[in-house]
Symmetry: C2
Subunit: 133 residues, 2 copies
DNA sequence: ATGGTAACTTGTGATATGCAAGTTACGAAT
DNA sequence: ATTCGTAACTTGCATATCACAAGTTACCAT
């Protein structure tokens, strides 16, 4: 028995509970929770390890952090690989699909800086950065 | 007693439960739930009335729809005004801050069309549209 | 009186989130 | 050999949010 091909390599997978095929609703079905895009932000700015994500000012609870990393990995947005053995420790990095979320985060930043008071202006490198796919 | 001015006109207000001043986290604190951006999408594409939002393919529950519209109004993203009396019926429209979310939705659409299979390509007018502020 | 429509509200169970504490596997220090 | 420290989690439990169905209100039309 051959499994049907679930999509081109590089594609992301939602788990079959999509609300519709609308690209906006579909994106939210994948990263539309309270923590996923905060983690993508951290990954885009160089963080790779569990404790580094914990240190971010938003203070994600560790159970949710573990759950989100697992989910993002299952969806093909993040990859987890060991950076040492004895004891095993893992580094998380973005896939091309994950890095491609950068423009979404840049537009959110622009919006927040225009309409929400006292939001930090991201460092210039972040705003001018282009995702390598 | 004079209420302190909570911000420049046109600014959005989050309710004081921000996780941080990061523009990304702050944006998510305001519209980072399962339904808000779907409603903004509908509003950007011309829908104005309660039942029109209900008709969208995602099928938002009516209690959540009412709650989200109330919250978006309180945050300054949506305005509610009666379009008739006897019986009173209301039309919802976006404020400038709400319309300014368009680029975020456009980038989400672009991302979904690239990385999620079988997502609808938005009508060209939506993708080339520029928000009037 | 009966039926229809728009815009909600209410009740209840399911799911997701938040907080604190505990666990595992190791290396290093005493 | 025991204790300490660290990274990366897991578990338990309380609270909050969500989903689904049904009911409500205020009208106009027949």
């Amino acid at each position: 028995m051959i499994k049907p091909d679930k999509g081109a390599p590089g594609n992301v997978v939602s788990g079959g509970r999509e609300r519709s095929s609308c690209p906006i609703a579909s994106t939210l079905d994948i990263v539309g929770d309270k923590w996923s895009l905060v983690l993508v932000r951290d990954l885009l700015t160089g963080k790779q390890r569990f404790n580094q994500f914990c240190d971010s000012p938003e203070g994600v609870p560790t159970n949710l952090l573990a759950a989100r990393l697992r989910k993002l990995e299952a969806q093909g947005i993040v990859v987890k690989q060991p950076y040492q053995t004895r004891p095993v420790r893992y580094a998380y990095t973005l896939t091309p699909a994950g890095r491609a979320l950068l423009p979404v985060l840049q537009e959110m930043s622009r919006w927040a800086n225009s309409y929400i008071e006292d939001t930090w202006v991201p460092p210039e490198p972040f705003m001018s950065m282009k995702a390598k796919l």
